[in-house]
Amino acid sequence: MASKAQTPPLALRAATYGFVAVWLTLAAFPFLWTLWGSFKVELDFFSITNWTDALTGPRTQETHGSAFTGAGYEGAWVQEEFWRAAINTFIVCFFVVCTSLTIGTLGGYALSRSGFRYTFWLLITALIFRAMPPITLVAGYMLPFFEWNVWGILPTTIIVLVAINQPFTLWMLHSFFQNIPKELDESAKVDGCTQFQAFRHVIVPVMWPGVITTGLFSFLLAYNDFAVTSMLLSESNRTMVPEIAAFLGTTYTEGNVMFAVAAVVSATAPLFVLVMVFQRQIVSGLTAGAVKG
């Protein structure tokens, strides 16, 4: 009886599943379409005469003797040396995440444990800087960067990205730290820790999911950034996103749009892996503080 009462009517269940199925298809479609299309030639993928060409790939067959071709990937990675951009992205992301997490963890901890009122205003100031469009910072610094001869290189970009990113990491980590009771630090201090030992042995292990979540967000910011990287990096130092944009921009050669499509797929794949690996920490990090532990 009870189980019957709890089972929704068949029509409702069908509608629910149907809705989820439609939503999933809609959400995943652009990614799947791009993935499928990246193995075709441009004339198929962007066919004006018949859109099903993108699915079946008659011209791809004509040119390469098979419905699928790795020509886009080969062009992007080998011919255009997209791997350089991938390495640059890795360098930029690594240093942005490390720097902003170091400053954010130490700063967020200090702000959450400080009894002074100025901490509030520091955080508000940080929020204002976070609210500004990143491009305003870049525009203001372009000229000095040229004059000091630091334009176009990775360290400058890393510093600017950290500056844009820092308020967010500081806020996020600050709120994580605030959810950790002060008694934990105090207990550690009475037990024999210095302030820093209390932080390292007691607080950081508890904070770990929060650090991972914040780290992932600042990684994504650096990874996906276009405004800063496209304006501050010279051609030879480009990261993946401005490199993809550059592929798109040079449409006078046939293959380059397909290079961009292949590069997009190559750039998206690591993100899936990353989120899969850290999904447990991300979920617990995002929900931490929702209920008092």
Partner: protein
């Protein structure tokens, strides 16, 4: 070994006074209870001893060494927090071992010490659990074990029982009393529960609004409260207090006349404990001492006794009587008290007057 001295210790935050001129010597091995309502400065006092709060002025010394400028870790104190403050990522064993580990104590002795401490609080079966998998009482015992594991000079306990349910509180209280007897270490214990204070303490410090009201043994404080605040804070029910006038050794107030007292003439507050009074029929006011007469306001059956309450002025006055006593609300009754059970307090200042 570990005598604690507080010399004129004060703590202020801007204009707010947390603790005002706290001056006390706590001899070695004493079990001292700081008692008072919330916000009275008792926890602040303890936190200053632990080094978690800096005194605004005054000097704190432990074992003859001034510790004002020492970090908490260098004071050789152990503290049990109200919220237990267990390290959630470590199991019970690691929690208890933590003080030994961070202090760099020879690791070969750790296991034995941890096991001895956990045995003292009966936690042997839970050593591999995480704090989240323990009940409130078990967490409390982990916190105790973590405090005793390195045999500190001073124990500080900040309302350790207030998060436990009533039944567990009684058994843990007994355990703490037994532990402190066994370890015989100077202990400072903060509570707002006067029963904990009475049962555990060698000496009690009653505080209110940052100021020490009275220091004494539990019996002292119960039998000779230094002022009306202490009188109204200690005891269950609290001491009855009636405002009235003294003239020639006779106290009078509404429906109240008690003779044979020694105290100055003028406005005073008379106090007596419910169990020191006897309840008689209405109208027979002339025995030894005196009586309060009036209709019964309420009657409470407690099982082992019956409480009879009258309303005198704005205050409730209650007396404890035999468990078989029965009457109706509104029945006339008289509560009789002998003068030697009466306490007199100055109505204006609250200070004890007379004897």
């Amino acid at each position: 070994m570990a005598e604690i001295q507080l010399r004129n210790v004060s703590k202020r935050w801007g204009g707010f006074v947390g603790v005002q001129k706290f001056d006390l010597t706590i001899p070695d091995r004493e079990f001292l209870v700081l008692l008072g309502p919330s916000g009275c400065g008792k926890t602040t006092t303890m936190r200053m001893i632990a080094g978690l709060e800096d005194p605004t002025e005054g000097e704190i010394s432990i074992g003859g060494r001034v510790v004002n400028d020492l970090e908490p870790k260098d004071r050789d104190v152990a503290m049990v927090f109200q919220s237990y403050a267990l390290y959630p990522n470590m199991n019970v064993y690691e929690n208890i071992r933590f003080p030994l580990r961070v202090r760099g104590i020879d690791p070969s002795g750790h296991d034995e010490k941890v096991r001895r401490a956990s045995a003292m609080v009966e936690l042997d079966d839970f050593l591999h659990r995480k704090p989240a998998e323990l009940s409130g009482g078990q967490r409390q015992r982990v916190a105790l074990a973590r405090a005793i594991v390195r045999e500190p000079n001073v124990f500080l306990m900040d309302e350790p029982l207030s998060n436990l349910d009533a039944k567990l509180r009684v058994s843990t209280r007994a355990q703490i009393k037994n532990l402190s007897h066994e370890l015989s270490v100077t202990t400072i214990y903060v509570t707002h529960d006067q029963i904990e204070a009475m049962t555990l303490a060698d000496r009690v410090v009653v505080m209110n609004k940052g100021v020490v009201q009275q220091v004494g043994t539990p019996t002292d404080i119960y039998d000779r409260p230094a002022n009306a605040f202490v009188a109204s804070f200690i005891g269950n029910p609290a001491m009855n207090l009636i405002e009235g006038q003294m003239a020639g050794g006779v106290f009078t107030a509404q429906n109240t006349r008690i003779a044979g007292l020694s105290g100055p003439d003028g406005p005073v507050t008379l106090g007596f404990r419910a169990e020191d009074a006897t309840v008689g029929a209405g109208g027979d006011g002339d025995g030894a001492g005196g009586a309060i007469t009036g209709p019964i306001y309420t009657l409470e059956l407690l099982g082992d006794a019956t409480m009879v309450a009258l309303r005198i002025g704005g205050a409730l006055v209650s007396a404890k009587t035999d468990k078989t006593y029965r009457a109706e609300i509104g029945d006339p009754v008289s509560i009789r008290i002998t003068p030697d059970h009466c306490h007199l307090f100055d109505t204006a200042t609250g200070a004890r007057v007379g004897d």
